[in-house]
Subunit: 373 residues, 2 copies
Amino acid sequence: MSLKFNILHHDTITRARTGLLELPHGTVETPVFMPVGTNGTVKGVTKDNLKEIGFGIILSNTYHLYLRPGLDVIEKAGGLHKFINWDQNILTDSGGFQVFSLTKLRKIKDEGVVFQSHIDGSRHTLTPEKVVHIQQVLGSDIFMQLDVCTPYGIKEKEAKKALDITKQWADRSIAYWKQNQDRSSGNLFPIMQGNFYKPLRTESKEFICNLDTPGIAIGGLSVGEPFPVFEEFLAFSTEGLPESKPRYVMGIGTPLYILTAVENGVDMFDCVFPTRTARNGLLFTWNGPISIKQAQYVEDFAPIDTACTCRVCREYSRSYLRHLYKCNEILYSILASYHNLYFLHELMKKIRYTISNGTFAAFKKEFLANYKE
Amino acid sequence: MSLKFNILHHDTITRARTGLLELPHGTVETPVFMPVGTNGTVKGVTKDNLKEIGFGIILSNTYHLYLRPGLDVIEKAGGLHKFINWDQNILTDSGGFQVFSLTKLRKIKDEGVVFQSHIDGSRHTLTPEKVVHIQQVLGSDIFMQLDVCTPYGIKEKEAKKALDITKQWADRSIAYWKQNQDRSSGNLFPIMQGNFYKPLRTESKEFICNLDTPGIAIGGLSVGEPFPVFEEFLAFSTEGLPESKPRYVMGIGTPLYILTAVENGVDMFDCVFPTRTARNGLLFTWNGPISIKQAQYVEDFAPIDTACTCRVCREYSRSYLRHLYKCNEILYSILASYHNLYFLHELMKKIRYTISNGTFAAFKKEFLANYKE
């Protein structure tokens, strides 16, 4: 294992904590938000801008990179870091989520999952071992096991079946990873599943807690359930996890979800939300997102947020951004994505700071009182 | 007039020359290529990157800005420079070319031109006076007169009619500009027309040479005519122009066209070519453009051009660029546009250098021998 996790502060009121996560490509302060670079680029943002904002870890999607450009290309490039020229950390997911959300004609067997590419319909098989192998070739700093993702609303029997396979696949992933650790310094995280059934979540949690892995991922949340259900199952899933391992909740990125996760002792998150909503015209402010499409911004020469210190807010007006949006200009996506990522990065800084000085619960309350979604 | 033009070197073999063009927002070395920022942004390139490359002047389109966001918005922003936050020079065209190429149902009268917006079908009238007024409000550093643009292949009678109106409009533009010079420090250029009829070109040239304007624009070239016709009419149109005024040929941007124009004593050019072709997958090298779509680049980890010193060539491979192109990623357009503009800027530097040391003709020959289109 090449990961070290040092907890710096525990909040006195909530289960929130700050830490330093040492990874092969640098140390990351937690709780941390990781921007998503699906195809080996965070959409609309250069690596230089990511570094300027302060990101030390991004997420990239194994499923997408495996299909395009393909593993051969990235292997010949010397790994994903070299291929995309990013010298900070990369977490890759397992592709499980994409196989279950993007592809048609997928078939789950004990062995693995067979699916057709959403790009060209070509047929592929992913096994737990192959998924670890792919991530080793990519050279990611954190790997995810292949899991079976299930949507909100399925029957318990189906959820149990998915969990059983996920558990088997965790064992196989870990075995393969341990046998081949000389190939890469990446850190494998198993994934908790169990859908929205507490007995299954308990079963998954107990199973995960007994695994010898450097971190724990919590999957199957924020998959369409109402917020109170998310909150309940997040609290339930995180309760009693070993203190010493970093905890990663996959696919959450709105301030409310992040604050709720932090409150429950989660250390890592990722989501396309800040960049995707930016491209769709939604810009974050400390009073809630604004929709830059609106006519009220036509002659609004103020920055997106007067309280924001980012380059975009220092240099451009809402009026200009709205104009660029209306003209479908690339510069709009560049500036909007930068701002939203900067905003989330600032939010994470404030979260870490308030945890460290014991004011996190008050900060969360105050932030949410001002932040109108 | 707020423009000063100092010629530094005359080529000994061709009519090429170098100069310093002093404008309200800084001094520009000529011959100069101006990137096009149609909607108040050079597509895919930030102002910071434009400055990093070294551009001190861009072109923006009066027609587009007049329709969207509209003159009111830009006036309230304090002019175009402030609206887009660009502190270097801006040349704006007159909108004539767009009215004749983008709109339907246009009607030319002596008074001006009536047309329907290509965006929403709304009805507008542009007169020579109004076009100068618009550019004064924009606060451009160089203005163009409203002209009547004609395509290649029209009859002489039609070309004569267009020229007659263009001449009248030049007089009216200059009169309005001179009466209202307190409003802005912009410099008005009249536009030579005459289609591909030498008597008409001569008439237009003589007319233009007698006008009291700080510079001269040459229009109606590179509008679909074969290259030899372009070359012939470019040479003819530029012959005998006053030495002291900067000469601007509108809408040319390929290396061959630029070199040909420079050879004929032209000082300024603009074109969407480098950025548009970049987005379409064509990347410039000193051996000619490469089409990054091609399968041969899948595992090509060399830079676009090993001889190029740009940030993109220093940091990214053809393989990665091809991958980004295939995935339709914004980063592709960002990097490709940057590289192509950098390449053209380097070409212009070499052109100026070889003019200054008397080797321009040899440079042109050698460049074109290596550059396979």
